[in-house]
């Protein structure tokens, strides 16, 4: 039985079919990449899985349970964490408080939540920014906070929507390393949307490609870069040649 099974998901925004009969599955412990040009339907697919959108047809099965149409807070409680491509830059809460809210998903006591949040910030090496507000931080840090608060909910499947966009190569390197660590040490299955090709190819064990709402390819990174359809739709000949 697959860990996450997406079966024939379709999402139609009044004529614009953002996801067209998409099926795939993810096994426990994998790191799977989801790529495709802008507007291909990647974020929509995430939203259909975790419940921000109700798919028009199809099913999502997570650990043997049908979670289709569940609300985001319920899919989170079921063990799916996610980050947002566009993170709202808020002023109301500090970094520590943000992560504590994530921790409150599993604990009721404030001290417990605080300890857990501090431990996580330490694990990520960002405890020094704990008293800052999101609007006071550079994008790379905001992303880490988004990651930290999602992790605080104890997900077994973490879905990251373009966490590396806007980051410099060094920061990307850090995030890639971090993904590997949480995957191997915390045993968290990762499903990542990324448009930075180098990064997806480096970190993913398997890649799924969307284009105009259709799944056009799925396979090992090495095969994906050579796939005719993918090259046509997305990568361009140049990338394939240079690798």
């Amino acid at each position: 039985m697959a860990f996450l099974e997406v079966d024939n998901i379709t999402k139609d925004f009044g004529g614009l079919v953002a996801n067209n009969h998409i099926s795939f599955s993810i096994d426990e412990g994998e790191i799977v990449g989801l790529i495709g040009p802008n507007g291909a339907g990647k974020t929509t697919l995430f939203n259909c899985i975790v419940g921000y959108h109700k798919p028009d047809s199809g099913k999502v099965i997570f650990r043997g349970k049908d979670i289709t149409g569940l609300k985001p807070h319920d899919t989170n409680r079921a063990g799916i964490g996610r980050t947002f491509q566009v993170m709202k830059v808020t002023t109301g809460m500090t970094v520590l408080e943000n992560v504590m809210v994530g921790a409150f998903c599993r604990v009721d006591e404030r001290e417990q939540a605080r300890k857990k949040a501090l431990a996580l910030l330490g694990f990520m090496g960002i405890e020094k920014i704990k008293d800052f507000h999101l609007n006071e931080l550079p994008v790379a840090m905001q992303r880490k906070v988004g990651l930290a608060r999602a992790l605080a909910t104890n997900p077994v499947l973490l879905m990251l929507d373009e966490v590396a966009s806007g980051l410099n190569p060094k920061e990307i390197e850090e995030i890639v390393e971090f993904m590997r660590v949480i995957n191997s040490e915390k045993k968290i299955t990762l499903f990542i949307i990324e448009h930075i090709m180098e990064m997806v190819m480096k970190v993913s064990q398997r890649v799924i490609v969307l284009d105009y709402g259709e799944k056009i390819a799925e396979g090992l990174p090495a095969d994906i870069v050579k796939n005719e359809n993918v090259i046509k739709a997305y990568l361009g000949e140049k990338y394939a040649q240079s690798h």
Binding site: H73, N76, R82, T90, G92, V101, F104, R149
Partner: protein
């Protein structure tokens, strides 16, 4: 146990704030001994009452960030429960007041459930409408006195069972105790799981949902807590005024005043509702007695409030408390 510790613990506030709280508390304690006239005493009682209302509103309106403009219906529920149970069955205040709170809680869940399907302006308008409907029902319901209202039987001697006193001093200390219960409760609330979750909802609803927060359920809980708070105040109004009618305990203007005071003082801060009430209650009284004589000027007080809230929110959306914090940051 933890909760009580949290409620009594103000250590995360600055020294200046804690000292101010102590001085303010001492003042409240000895105020009746200062020989103030009955007008001033009335103003102080109103100040404490509206602080209590504002603190309650602050749960959903401040921490939760929802523009809630229908609290008067729960003031009414609290007031009418106490008054009717006393008039009909001679039931003591200490029994009828909790019953009023329970009815307010029950009613708030029933109203809150559909209400929190709505967002933004639609929500704000719907809160006004639900309140208007209840007032209309009471205005026409002869069993509960309709628009004429109900009078409570007057007890000559101080009566702690029915909480009826001739002297305002008793009422003053009574509402002061309620005020502190409210303050301690809110001091706990702001540090509670629900308090954190509400602030997240206010900041970013999508993110809140992704962190396992059932937004609608959290809002309903906060709304019900707010309703219970104001129902307590409503019960107090019944025994304090000894006369209630739909206009005095259920009118839209009361709902707006409650929200306005908390917003003006500083929504989502512990001190905000108190500061707001300290400004607006005396102003309200003053304008009331000043404008009361001029028939054509009814409503002018609300224009003044509206202007106030516009000026404050244009300068600092977090109200007077926000301005104070800003100045403090600049000073340090």
């Amino acid at each position: 146990m933890e909760a009580i510790k949290d409620a009594l613990n103000f250590s995360d506030f600055s020294r200046a704030e804690r000292i101010s709280l102590i001085i303010f508390s001492l003042f409240l304690l000895i105020f009746p001994l200062l020989g103030a006239g009955s007008f001033t005493k009335t103003v102080m009682i109103q100040f404490l009452l509206f602080s209590l209302f504002g603190m309650g509103w602050n749960t959903i309106g401040g921490y939760g960030g929802q523009v809630e403009l229908g609290k008067a219906q729960y003031v009414g529920i609290g007031a009418y429960t106490v008054a009717l149970m006393m008039v009909w069955w001679k039931i003591p205040f200490w029994f009828s007041m909790p019953v009023g709170v329970l009815i307010a809680l029950g009613y708030s869940f029933i109203i809150g459930y559909p209400l929190f399907r709505l967002k933004g302006h639609y929500f704000a308008i719907a809160t006004i409408c639900t309140s208007l409907v209840l007032k209309d029902i009471f205005d026409n319901w002869t069993l509960v006195g309709a628009a004429k209202g109900i009078e409570l039987p007057i007890h000559e001697h101080p009566d702690f069972v029915y909480m009826q006193f001739k002297s305002d001093t008793y009422y003053y200390y009574f509402i002061m105790v309620l005020f502190y219960i409210g303050l301690f409760y809110m001091n706990w609330f702001r540090k509670s799981k629900l308090g954190y979750q509400l602030r997240m909802i206010k900041d970013d609803e999508d993110a809140a949902e992704s962190l396992g927060i059932d937004i609608r359920w959290c809002k309903i809980k906060a709304y019900s807590i707010a309703s219970a708070f104001v129902a307590v105040g409503g019960g107090f109004m019944a025994v304090y005024n000894l006369y209630i009618d739909p206009t005095s305990v259920m009118e839209l203007s009361l709902s707006i005043k409650i929200a306005l005071m908390a917003m003006l003082g500083g929504a989502a801060s512990l001190w905000g509702p108190i500061i707001g009430a300290a400004f607006l209650v005396p102003l309200d009284r003053f304008l009331g007695s000043w404008l009361g004589g001029y028939k054509g000027l009814i409503g002018v007080d609300f224009m003044i409030y509206a202007a106030l809230i516009m000026v404050v929110s244009a300068y600092q959306p977090r109200g007077i408390w926000g301005i104070i914090e800003q100045l403090r940051k600049r000073g340090s």
